[in-house]
Symmetry: C3
Subunit: 324 residues, 3 copies
């Protein structure tokens, strides 16, 4: 057998993922026409992955994850053609009593926080705040990818409800060790209350090409679960000095459990100040997510979007999501 | 751990596939030379996949499949470089007493019917009718892909031997909702007898670029298993109005069980009428498929091909197929 | 369900792989600058794969492997963008008392021998001899890929410690059946002693474009495990007639078990003779590999490199490797 002996495995990977597809009639405020689609990733960006954990004894463990986003409507890997294969995550690490250290391509903590503190969660296509802050079509506020390459990430253990993570993404440019990305995030959770603050400086990634050398972004979010309703709030600010651009984004949302599902409502507004022209965008969504089981749900979302200088346009999506 | 909580899986995927490789000496009638090859996909186009089913209770189930064709002789994904990663299938759906509805990239029912009603089954490289109707090198009769993107497919339950499927593939062109693909297929099975009729109109996919806006295709097939021999017959007609092209393809075949294997013979003939020049192609194959187990077989196939204006040429393939 | 009945699987694949990432400060002798990196594949080139074996009875078995190299620091498949998806291996075969025959894309036996007979094993980035013989950045001595496409490989059973393998890689050029790769390798193992000789002629693959039509390469290696220390030696010679280039590479190395790890040292020197200018390169490495478990280890390696006409430069790598 051609495989080298040193690579002999002893098991330890599980397969998992999410397939999410929806039919929709879509039109962004600044789009010239309306498109009828069958698209992937209404509530969760479809992906498949492998992961595993090994108990090393003495409280130490090794872990890894390889996760590949899928445009499941066409079977294409990645979110766009610019993505690598394991675009969602590709890391290995060690964890123990003092926290965990992981190396590789890893989900950005500011991106994760955006998803965790709005009622549509990580919906990259139907959550107003996810669209305004991270979607290129919506002139995303934050530069750099939502997953960072070449990154060393430390995550602390939970201490009195607090969990701290720090990420350092190397730029790998010869003789330019200062060209890197940094993120510091603090999460807090205490019963029904949760909060996050996240700050980062990016110098590497999408949108970071001349003349733009860097961007700073800060974000705060909180949620409170009143049982009958869970409320969410977020505030983002980004500063891109090379284009003298500042963005400020606010999001308010609520989710109400209804039978085997929940009704979700969220509105996000981004104010973009540039030397040439200021603009503001308001995006709102109202949706219902119905769980057929813990793994499979059906959803309907109406999305409204208006950008300065364009008419308000609406989109509708009806979909199914299945976890495996 | 960077993964978002909402994506936590609970298991439910299995890995499977087919690896099929053959050594061959190949020459199509219209090829200038002969090539000695080690190729992938003699009897089944090699692929790997993941799939799962979840029982939702009350007779309802969720299901998904992600399947990736492989050119296993070189380890390349897809059948050609034009293919996406999960080129064979990428869908999710729900099924119950009233049939099943699936969304995504899905095998075309006319393609499946071509494979089911000839003795070489879905062999994309050695079945005469598969070559003439679906292979670009053989100037395929049917336009559009053999797997459709952005497709909603309904498949009925079996009713008195009949099973109906309807597929609607969205073109996703802004303000052009009428640009889509449609397929309607009826399968019938009753003891040793099986039959199919399939009709479709395609406006999206390979071969459908200006000046060609659409193509209509119809097909009928039947098979009868006399135990000592199983016979197959098929007839296809396609009409491409923008090039005033009509093709008519007929196939006759038989398979005879011999010990742990079966002898297969099939001949297909396509008549192509165009305003410029008519042409006909006759391709025939004789093969033996020997099963070492239910999962592993060895095969030998001789293929003969003749196109109007060219000499008759022969190809030989010897291969192994393994299911996992 | 759209899948064809003949492809129904019955199980038989397992998932496995290696994730290896390191932080490093890298500079090759002929590089203008130093780069700080988080890279993949310090000790083992990261990959994931599927494989399986089926017992066919009577001592016969079927087997397959599909293995995909990963640049795990960015989640990209392949070692470079030139690689196919299953770049590490993609084969199916049959084995029995008379040896095994496999078809597809397969690891080159000369490459495997390079890895088996130096203390850093198959480390493509930190083993001096692997770098000099196989790494493009180090002006690799051997042409053709380290994994061969379209290859028929026979491996004998072990006979009195000897195991012979022969590989024939088809070029698949029309009317040019003589354009192919050939390799013949003999491995010997007897208690603490192991040896290999490998010879090949390549006409297809990377580096084999006009004016270079072919290259011959020979290699001999041996190792002896004295328990307190294991020593390794290798010698390579390549001849590329079309550029009148000859390379000669020698490697000496030793590995010493220390507690749960081992200290590794290796030096390789390549002399390259061409009509224009001769050059020699000396690369040496000293490392320590510490096993946290059979599956997970930490390593530190210092690499020194000097090429004729350039200064000696050093690189340092600290990494973690996890098998799954």
């Amino acid at each position: 057998c051609p495989a080298l002996a040193q690579d002999a495995p002893t098991g330890g990977a599980s397969i998992y993922g999410v397939l999410d597809q929806y039919v929709g009639s879509l039109r962004r405020s600044d789009q010239p026409g309306r498109t009828r689609v069958l698209n992937s990733g209404g509530m969760t960006t479809s992906f498949w992955g492998m992961r595993g954990t090994e108990d090393l004894g003495g409280g130490l463990r090794a872990f890894f994850a390889l996760e590949s986003f899928i445009q499941a409507d066409s079977g294409t890997f990645g979110r766009t053609s610019a993505d690598p294969y394991f675009s969602r995550n590709s890391y290995v690490g060690l964890g123990g009593a003092y926290g965990q250290l992981s190396l590789g391509r890893q989900t950005n903590a500011l991106y994760a926080a955006t998803g965790n503190f709005n009622p549509f969660l990580a919906s990259a296509n139907l959550s107003p705040v996810m669209l305004q802050v991270w979607n290129t079509g919506y002139n995303r506020a934050v530069l750099g990818d939502s997953v960072w390459d070449n990154t060393i990430q430390y995550t602390s253990p939970e201490m009195a409800g607090f969990r701290v993570s720090a990420a350092y993404g190397l730029g790998e440019v010869a003789d330019r060790p200062g060209r890197h990305n940094l993120n510091l995030t603090v999460n807090y959770a205490n019963g029904p209350f949760a909060a996050v603050i996240s700050a980062q400086q990016v110098k590497v990634g999408p949108g970071l090409a001349a003349p733009i050398a860097s961007q700073k972004a800060q974000m705060a979010g909180l949620s409170y679960d009143f049982s009958l309703v869970k409320v969410y709030g977020q505030y983002f600010q980004t500063d891109t000095p090379d284009t003298r651009t500042r963005t400020r984004t606010a999001q308010f949302g609520a989710a109400v459990p209804v039978g085997a599902g929940r009704v979700m409502a969220s509105v996000a507004r981004t104010q973009r100040d540039t030397p040439l022209a200021d603009a503001s965008r308001t995006t709102a969504a109202l949706g219902y997510d119905h769980y057929l089981s813990k793994r499979t749900d059906l959803y309907a979302v109406y999305l409204s979007d208006r950008l300065t200088g364009y008419a308000r346009r609406g989109s509708l999506a009806l979909g199914v999501r299945h976890r495996f």
